[in-house]
């Protein structure tokens, strides 16, 4: 009996731990970037035994993620729920008017930032950003992206605002589909995340023109015969003043205790130390910035404001009904 009596004391020393299975909500569909990352995290946690309780991944994609966010908002004080977020954390409530804001959640940690790259077909005549801008002014190119009034279309609108070149934005369901539509020549350009298009780049079907970040990507390993991630110029270098990064962060419902937040902060820090995580980061050419606590909150506040401005300029805000 002695171990059973000792156990609560031991637990108290190590701080709070989940007592039930932890539900991990993905406010997006299966197969997308957030889904991939959440499933990798789940895999790492179970493979390395980082948590005693299992982690259960649930997709709540309805209403561009509103379903998942509203569920988390309604689960106030529940320490057995995590949410992974993408830009729809800001964009969905702004575009649809769903009553939700990131302040309805408790920020835990920023895992990474996802980059965006301007892609065209490898056999297209456009070799630089200037070529694309000129062509778009001439004949209005078709730019494909994931979802409507979300990150991809926000970037498209920002390109138009900065360069004056109009694009016809064609929304699709997921990043993988967008990349294949470009390879098939049904659209002219995309702003796919690196991980969504990397395999087509390596097979020689796509050409990256610029990355929407203020510095170049980190990877120096050759991805094709001649190019590595770091060889892709930034859009600013190419004369297009647009930068955009997408949050891959972990949140909890509001009203949870600090020791509970601390547990998940620690858990995710351990996740980031594993070789599987490093593999994912390298494959997807993620920006490895991580933030927690007040710095993370400050970043979120700034980003929320920025989305409001960007979306207002593009006319994407929901009309109050």
């Amino acid at each position: 009996m002695a171990p059973a009596i000792l156990a609560p004391g031991a637990r108290a020393q190590r701080g709070w731990e989940p007592m039930r299975p932890v539900q991990f909500i993905i406010p997006a569909g299966t197969g997308g970037g957030a889904d991939q990352m959440a499933r990798v995290i789940q895999g790492i946690v179970s493979k390395h035994g980082l948590m005693k309780q299992p982690m259960v991944v649930v997709n709540k994609a309805g209403g561009a993620g509103a379903e998942g966010f509203l569920e988390a908002k309604g689960a106030r004080g529940n320490p057995h729920m995590l949410v992974i977020t993408l830009s729809n954390l800001f964009a969905t409530p702004l575009a649809t008017g769903v009553p939700f804001n990131w302040k309805d959640l408790t920020p835990v940690t920023m895992m990474a930032l996802d980059e965006f790259v301007l892609w065209v077909k490898a056999d297209s005549p456009w070799k630089t950003v200037a070529d694309v801008i000129a062509a778009a002014k001439d004949q209005r190119l078709k730019l494909g992206g994931t979802g409507s009034k979300q990150e991809d279309q926000i970037i498209a609108a920002a390109i138009t605002k900065s360069s004056g070149a109009p694009f016809t934005y064609v929304p699709f369901r997921g990043g993988g589909e967008v990349a294949v539509q470009l390879v098939g020549g049904h659209i002219d350009a995309t702003v796919n995340n690196p991980i969504e298009a990397v395999t087509h780049w390596r097979s020689g079907a796509l050409r990256p023109l610029c990355v929407f970040d203020d510095k170049r990507l980190a990877g120096t390993e050759k991805m094709t015969d001649t190019q590595s991630w770091s060889d892709i110029p930034t859009c600013k270098e190419q004369g297009l003043d647009v930068d955009y990064l997408m949050l891959r962060g972990i949140f909890m419902p509001a009203g949870v205790k600090p020791e509970q937040v601390a547990f998940y902060e620690g858990l995710m820090a351990k996740v980031r130390e594993t070789p599987e995580w490093k593999e994912l980061i390298q494959q997807g050419a993620f920006n490895t910035t991580t933030l927690t606590g007040d710095a993370f909150r400050a970043w979120l506040t700034k980003e929320d404001e920025r989305h409001k401005t960007l979306m207002q300029e593009a006319g994407f805000l929901a009309q109050p009904s």
Partner: protein, 504 residues
């Protein structure tokens, strides 16, 4: 023939004893998952995926693809026995499978379903083995207009197959489109018809609707008919398998046609659900006895099952070669590949030969293992119908409720399921066909999306649907199918007109 050598290597990997064991475990788990409606292949694989992370990638994917096979086989069981399709592509199987079970021919229907699934999947695997590189590129030709054309063809081949009043079919189909439109509109990013309710944001999930429309309403009807299952008198033993097999060669042509439809729909990548509907519609149109469909014709089981599995299998091809999942299940498998450090896409076939051919070899073996497992179990499955109705009805209701809940972990969906049950019951009593409603609900939003994407690309011109031979050809085929009954009617009018002229 480099492929043969690689495939043999793959067999050597897949035939190692521990991999064989994983295969068996996978198939049994898969069948269990497939039997529970709502749990489905995608959820099942998602739950079991973490188990496989400790294994080498080849073993892991062998086990997962066997779960996938098992789930594909298992989906047919509840469709035939209880009129509850466990997966979207099993809906067409209920049209004739369930009447067969009611006539005491459940064993026959199950055997036919399993065997034709096997045939369909086998044809698709052979295709993947030998022509993968050639065909993989074909999926690239499918932009929004081509995709819409395929959807149009599915609807066209299905129209007129409903019994009874065409106006009632049309009304049911329109109701399906209406329900499909609820929720997020991908093209504008706006919520539609949610009336400010957060429960409505999800829209109407197909499975919840189908469990209610088919399963619950069937229980209501059975209660009205005096609390009994009609199929319970059936004599059941393993001989039914052999008896049915003796019949099968007669339908070889039908199976071949259905397999071709399936493979084609799988790589396009429209998927298994439209494939099963289209194949059923075409089988009915080409049959000498179209009126017999829907009343327990074995062809009505063979056609959709063959096509669905051919499509389900060939849908793995775009996943491996292009990184685009052809189905939700394939999407979860895709996540698994990334976890094992494999990046799906064109480079996979070049850089990970051992993995790819191990997977393909496991498709052959898993399919055979799956067939053996389910065939041996046919008598037991069919024997479920002998359980007294009050007991089995309670069990079915429970399983339905769990299924509806599992789709998106929402209690509200159980309420929706019950509402759909009542709607289904009323529609049956008033002779409104359920099939067009379900078809429109499953394919409605993808069709609408493809249509609007096309018009965005063409800046509003309808000519885009005929802009090349591919989409133009498919559209023309669809229009011809739609016009078929009209032509028959015209011929009748002309013939009778000539007759009258001659008489005069």
């Amino acid at each position: 023939m480099e492929e043969i050598g690689l495939l043999m290597q793959g067999f050597a990997v897949a035939l190692q004893p521990d991999n064989m064991l994983l295969m068996l475990i996978g198939v049994v788990l898969g069948v269990l998952i497939g039997v529970l409606p709502g749990l489905g292949g995608a959820n099942g694989i998602a739950i079991l995926l973490p188990l496989t992370f400790a294994m080498p990638p080849v073993s892991a994917v062998i086990m997962l693809s066997c779960i996938y096979w098992g789930a594909l086989f298992g989906g047919a069981i509840t469709s035939i026995l209880f009129n509850i399709p466990g997966e979207p592509w099993s809906v067409a199987t209920t049209f004739d499978g369930y009447p067969m079970a009611q006539q005491g021919r459940a064993g026959e229907a199950l055997t036919a379903a399993f065997t034709s699934s096997f045939v369909g999947a086998f044809v698709a695997v052979v295709m993947i083995t030998f022509v993968a590189p050639v065909i993989a590129g074909f999926a690239l030709r499918f932009g929004p207009p081509e995709f819409f054309a395929v959807m149009f063809l599915s609807f066209a081949s299905f129209v007129g197959m409903a019994k009874g009043s065409p106006l009632k079919s049309l009304a049911a189909m329109m109701l399906g489109f209406l329900l499909a439109a609820v929720g997020m509109d991908t093209v504008t990013g706006q919520l539609r018809m949610t009336f400010g309710s957060s429960e409505m944001i999800r829209g109407f999930d197909f499975l919840v609707a189908v469990i209610g429309l088919f399963g619950i309403s069937e229980i209501l009807c059975s209660i009205e008919d005096g609390l009994s299952f009609k199929g319970q008198k059936a004599k059941i033993d393993l001989k039914v398998v052999l008896r049915t097999w003796k019949e099968m060669p007669k339908h070889a042509l039908l199976a071949a046609r259905s397999a071709i439809i399936g493979v084609w729909m799988g790589i396009t990548p429209a998927g298994a659900t439209p494939a099963s509907f289209m194949s059923y519609g075409v089988a009915r149109k080409m049959s000498k006895d179209p009126a017999g469909f829907g009343h327990g014709k074995i062809e009505g089981v063979i056609a959709p099952e063959t096509a669905a599995h051919a499509a389900g299998t060939s849908a793995l091809l775009p996943m491996l070669t292009l990184g685009v999942p052809g189905s939700p299940t394939a999407a979860v498998l895709l996540g698994g590949l990334i976890m094992w450090g494999l990046q799906p896409g064109p480079m996979l076939f070049v850089e990970q030969k051992e993995f790819v051919w191990g997977l393909i070899a496991s498709m052959y073996l898993g399919n055979i293992a799956g067939l053996l497992v389910v065939l041996v179990a046919v008598p037991w499955f069919a024997a479920i119908l002998r359980v007294p109705f009050p007991i089995i009805a309670a069990l079915i209701l429970t399983v339905c409720a769990i299924g509806a809940y599992t789709v998106s972990n929402a209690e509200f969906d159980i309420v929706l399921m019950l509402i759909f049950g009542v709607v289904g019951y009323v529609m049956k009593k008033l002779d409104y066909p359920l099939a067009p409603l379900v078809l429109a609900l499953v394919l409605g939003d993808r069709t609408e999306e493809a249509f609007r994407q096309s018009l965005l690309v063409s800046e509003g011109s309808m000519g885009i649907f005929f802009h090349n031979w591919l989409s133009g050809g498919i559209m023309a085929a669809g229009i011809a199918l739609l016009a078929w009954p009209l032509l028959g009617w015209l011929r009748g009018v002309i013939a009778s007109g000539m007759g009258r002229a001659r008489a005069a």
